[in-house]
Point group: C2
Chain length 450, copies 2
């Protein structure tokens, strides 16, 4: 059997793709070489319609048992070969483009030669055209799952979101940085860390580039990093991952209001870009976002506490918003909005308190979309004594942060910044309900493979 | 003392930068607000020259004890304040632009008001203008070290290299992906891995996105990732890091010759871009690369073994090139060149052997610059039985790769790709001799901080 199956498959040899499926309009009568995989097969006895899917779309290949006027022998061999195809097999086809009103894209290809580059031996429990399939049946064969047009559209939108965000930051003079993911100390109290064996020492995976990006404002003023972050979240929600991509921005000589302005402009720009660029993708998703206008509404933390209380919902000043509070808020507050001026003790140690004398509040914000937090940020403390004070207040040891604190002896500028979760942003743009589908290979407490 | 030092410092308040130092030409007589840090101070008794450095360069601020025709009292207070400045302090200055032939940039600023945003309390053991300082005295205060004009130039070049590479790949239809850094199995035999506690299980940090990027060609055909890789290298050389940034490219329906073509064009394009874009930076480095012409020379592994033997150097077919061999080769082979067609058993298990019947050789390459390997790649095996065979031959267990092997049942296309080390590429472009300076915060067997 092994020998038999091997003999069915062809090597690529000197064949190369001449066109993508999206490039065939107006090419009537031209010979092309296409490559891709078999998305579907319709067998009508003497005629076989094969949808070849490539990076850019699909095109119909028509195999006839006895094509008129062509070389009968070749045609017969080709037809028999096509009969062996299964969905997902990778193929290369040389053939002639022909317009055909009834074909799905108004064009089809009449094959002259075909290579079977890789014959599928298994059939996934879903079609590439299906939309709503439970996660469990998909994640074990995630690479195949990603062939579904729905997910391919999601990740093409992701690609373009990233492109728009980088070009936005680049045009504003931000420099791209990379900070270490293997670190000696937690950058924030609270969040759970993954421990590593670092040669003969204990180390941790960085749950954020926070302290490093702050340090880098010293030399570069405006920095950004788009890189993985790691959180040993024991939760099993639809909005948490153990490994995610964070878009981190830090900016010297400004405060939280300035970076809120950058964040909202960046998001509005990026959504405008993908709405314009990814029309086909949004049509596959069946939903298109509206480019949000700026500024986004801002609500003070205290104000929202009062509103919730006014609605008879149980919450006290100083409490974090729990799921039910956020649900209640999101029934009133649509789209993107900021919650600003959080109680200082609810925020990480590096968060600056407000200058108005009331040190109970901080210059901080969360960016929300409905009930989903997608970003948080603040003005940071840039004075060493103040930072040490706050470390102690939060029960952290200044000694553990010696390598960070020393930087504050060298003229640390005032600065502010934010971290934005790429997967969560992508959820708001695509309407995905489970964050696991906003990443290629999700990691959570239950899943370390594939 | 604490109180006294705090009272010297001002809050940012509503001051915002109006211009960068690079934007002052032709602005004679205009009032500007500048922000940055004090790069140097020259004290002439009644006159103080302060170089203010910002993201884009430097400008001279001239403080006079008794400026003619201005408000004497204010001037006196301002002068006293300027006297307290130390190098590296962060300041904001409101003042009037004045052309001045003798000033370093042909322009200087006469201050009207100044805020000391952060007073430096320590002095680094190097100036921001110095070039050759031993690493040990720098890395403990790396954030300050990065203020040196030399390193700032390096990292601005890095920023632009990345930008050029992404736009090159984007224009060719590659999609950006992110693969998990926490993995259950080594993706290659050999390279040393960092173990992690993943909740209640053992896991590892990915030493390469290899298997994931291969899988992703199934759905996306042309993918790239620019992300950290982790190698528990016990070596202390000038060209190894425990954490580095890898530029990974994978491409369906092509072979190693095709991706060598993409790699050389990408590098040539990126160098051309930075040579054009970073003239000031290369002038600070004192060296400018030449945009390499393509194609890069290709030498077969066997051919180089023969050449070395011909020179009387001891090496046998099947040996890897050691440092002394690479030194000898680099004395003959200048610039970028490929070493191709390596013995199959010297390459990772997923490397395809050559089609010419001699399975001893593989469709593989290293890209070299002098004696430095900066990239390696190959045609990959896309048949499951062949891949299992090679796993066993290399002493690896197919069971450990079950989640990867299953993908090959669904029509895995022929594919090829490469990984390119960003820091090593940056070394070849900037002339850096130690890879630690090609990354922001180096990680090696001895260093986990800052």
């Amino acid at each position: 059997m092994l020998f038999a199956s091997m003999s069915l498959e062809d090597d690529l040899g000197d064949w190369r793709r001449s066109h993508y499926s999206s490039e065939l309009h107006g090419m009537d009568g031209r010979e092309v070489t296409l490559m891709g995989y078999v998305a579907s097969i319709r067998d009508h006895g003497n005629i076989l319609f094969v949808m070849l899917a490539d990076k850019d779309g699909e095109v119909q290949i028509v195999f006839k048992r006895n094509a008129e006027g062509s070389d009968g022998a070749t045609t017969q061999a080709l037809f028999s070969k096509a009969r062996m195809l299964k969905e997902h097999s990778s193929i290369a086809v040389k053939g002639i483009v022909r317009s055909m009103k009834n074909a799905p894209k108004g064009v089809e290809v009449v094959p002259k030669e075909m290579k079977i580059l890789s014959l599928a031996r298994s059939v996934p429990p879903f079609s590439v055209y299906s939309k709503n399939i439970p996660l469990d049946v998909r994640l074990d064969i995630r690479a195949v799952d990603l062939r579904r047009h729905y997910l391919r559209a999601v990740f093409r939108i992701r690609h373009n979101l990233l492109k728009a965000i980088r070009s936005f930051l680049d045009e504003r003079g931000f420099i791209e940085v990379s900070t270490p993911k293997m670190i000696s100390t937690a950058s924030e109290g609270g969040a759970a860390l993954f421990p590593i064996f670092y040669f003969d020492r204990e180390a941790f995976l960085a749950q954020s580039p926070q302290l490093y990006k702050e340090q880098l404002t010293l030399a570069f003023e405006k920095v950004y990093e788009i890189a993985p972050i790691f959180r040993a979240e024991p939760s099993r929600t639809n909005r948490h991952l153990a490994e995610a991509i964070s878009i981190d921005v830090e900016h010297a000589f400004v405060n939280y209001e300035d970076v809120m302005g950058i964040l909202e402009e960046m998001i509005s720009h990026a959504i405008g870009y993908v709405v314009d660029k990814c029309k086909d993708e949004f049509s596959i998703l069946g939903t298109t976002p509206i480019k949000p206008s700026t500024p986004f509404p801002r609500y003070r933390y205290s104000q929202l506490i009062d509103i919730l209380k006014g609605e008879g919902i149980r919450i006290e000043w100083g409490d974090d918003f729990a799921a039910e509070h956020l649900k209640a808020l999101s029934s009133m507050l649509k789209g993107y909005y900021f919650i600003v001026d959080w109680p200082a003790r609810m925020r990480p140690f590096y968060t600056k308190t407000k200058d108005d004398g009331s040190t109970a509040l901080s210059e901080s914000f969360d960016l929300m979309h409905g009930d989903l937090e997608i970003s948080s940020g603040s003005t940071r403390i840039n004075r060493k004594d103040e930072l040490m004070e706050r470390l102690k207040m939060q029960g952290l040891k200044p000694e553990s942060f010696a390598h960070h604190l020393i930087v504050f002896d060298y003229g640390m500028p005032p600065h502010a910044g934010f971290g934005l979760g790429l997967e969560r942003l992508l959820m708001t743009v695509t309407g995905l309900e489970n964050i696991r589908d906003a990443t290629f290979y999700p990691r959570d407490i239950d899943r370390l493979v594939p």
